[in-house]
Symmetry: C2
Subunit: 214 residues, 2 copies
């Protein structure tokens, strides 16, 4: 397809597509003559991925480039490719390891992972930003003096594990390995805001069921 059709089918303006081409976020089309290039379904798919990272995920161009570098690196196994792409997404700041609450949160998260039997996640714990994010979130709760029952964290974790199983089941419906990895990245960008919206709506529903509107 020509640039105009790629623009029509993706809903992205030709000026923006040209910008993505210049920035290396989209591979050049096949040049058919001095002024015309042909694009294919792979271009369309990649364009949608780039668009959602920039427009929905609000990622800077440099981050998008880094994520795509991992997505396209087929020398890595699927777990590492999925992980490496997620690791390039925006993350919480590093926890301050000199802080007592952070050290306590490390122990608490480790106990949680043992309790859950997430032994694979534990192997990744020294390098995974998701592990660090969890330590930061738990430390924030404890610093504010909230002493939640550890069983509550276990219950939340099991719900999110069910969500992750749905995510990966969907990823596995994609035909090619490249699409599987792309879909996993999109999942992080598109599914997280959807889960957050569903969570807030469910809170309103449950609250109205329990307390009415009085």
């Amino acid at each position: 397809m020509r640039l105009a059709e790629l623009s029509g089918r993706s809903g992205v303006s030709t000026a923006t597509i040209k910008y993505y081409l210049r920035e290396g976020l989209l591979a050049p089309g096949r040049q058919v003559n001095a002024t015309t290039a042909e694009y294919d379904e792979d271009h369309l798919r990649r364009l949608r991925l780039v668009r959602s990272m920039i427009q929905v995920g609000r990622l800077p161009v440099a981050t998008v480039r880094e994520v795509l570098r991992h997505v396209d690196d087929d020398s890595l196994g699927r777990t590492i490719r999925l992980g490496a792409a997620l690791w390039a997404l925006p993350q919480v700041p590093e926890p301050d390891e000199d802080d007592d609450h952070v050290r306590a949160a490390h122990r608490e998260v480790d106990e949680l992972l043992d309790r859950l039997g997430w032994s694979n996640a534990k192997l990744l714990l020294t390098i995974s930003p998701a592990y660090r994010s969890l330590v930061v979130a738990v430390a924030a709760m404890r610093r504010l003096g909230y002493d939640w029952d550890p069983e509550l964290l276990v219950a939340y974790a099991e719900l999110m594990h069910q969500a992750a199983i749905l995510d990966l089941n969907f990823v596995e419906t994609r035909p090619s390995e490249a699409e599987k990895v792309e879909t996993a990245v999109l999942g992080a960008v598109l599914v997280e805001p959807m889960l957050q919206a569903l969570h807030r709506l469910a809170q309103e529903e449950e609250s109205a069921r329990r307390y009415g509107f009085e």
Copy 2:
């Protein structure tokens, strides 16, 4: 307690506490003489709430003030107080109602709520930011050409409903009405990042279980 003890117990510096007092985010202490004020457990609790909204939720001071105005308005019923406080938290931009994908997403979200039996949430739909957020998230997926099975949205929604039940069960353990409302606001600020971190970690765990580290 004196200012120094309030600072020690909350981990918030006296300079920051004085700033919150000037900005009206914290009620003045009981003046015992010209230079000294007494603070109580309500001050400590409120200080932790303000701190978590600003430091963890990264809310601007004006937003914190608006959230607290709803939290403190005991003329409202509990559902509306909980909702009104959540509604003052940062939200996604308004959906563009002239957009075909947004109109389609509205229909899809309405069908989803019918399917789920969330009739109370549906009553709120014209005013709830959570409803708008869900429309925006669904419209973004559709605009990008992702045609997910509506059953997948139902499954995600049911998981988030389970999370909301855990949230409200915890809220109900708080002794006073004021603490219940405050805890609900904290839930939005603290639980959402924790669920997001657990979700990403669960994805890594599930991916490693399925594909190993090859």
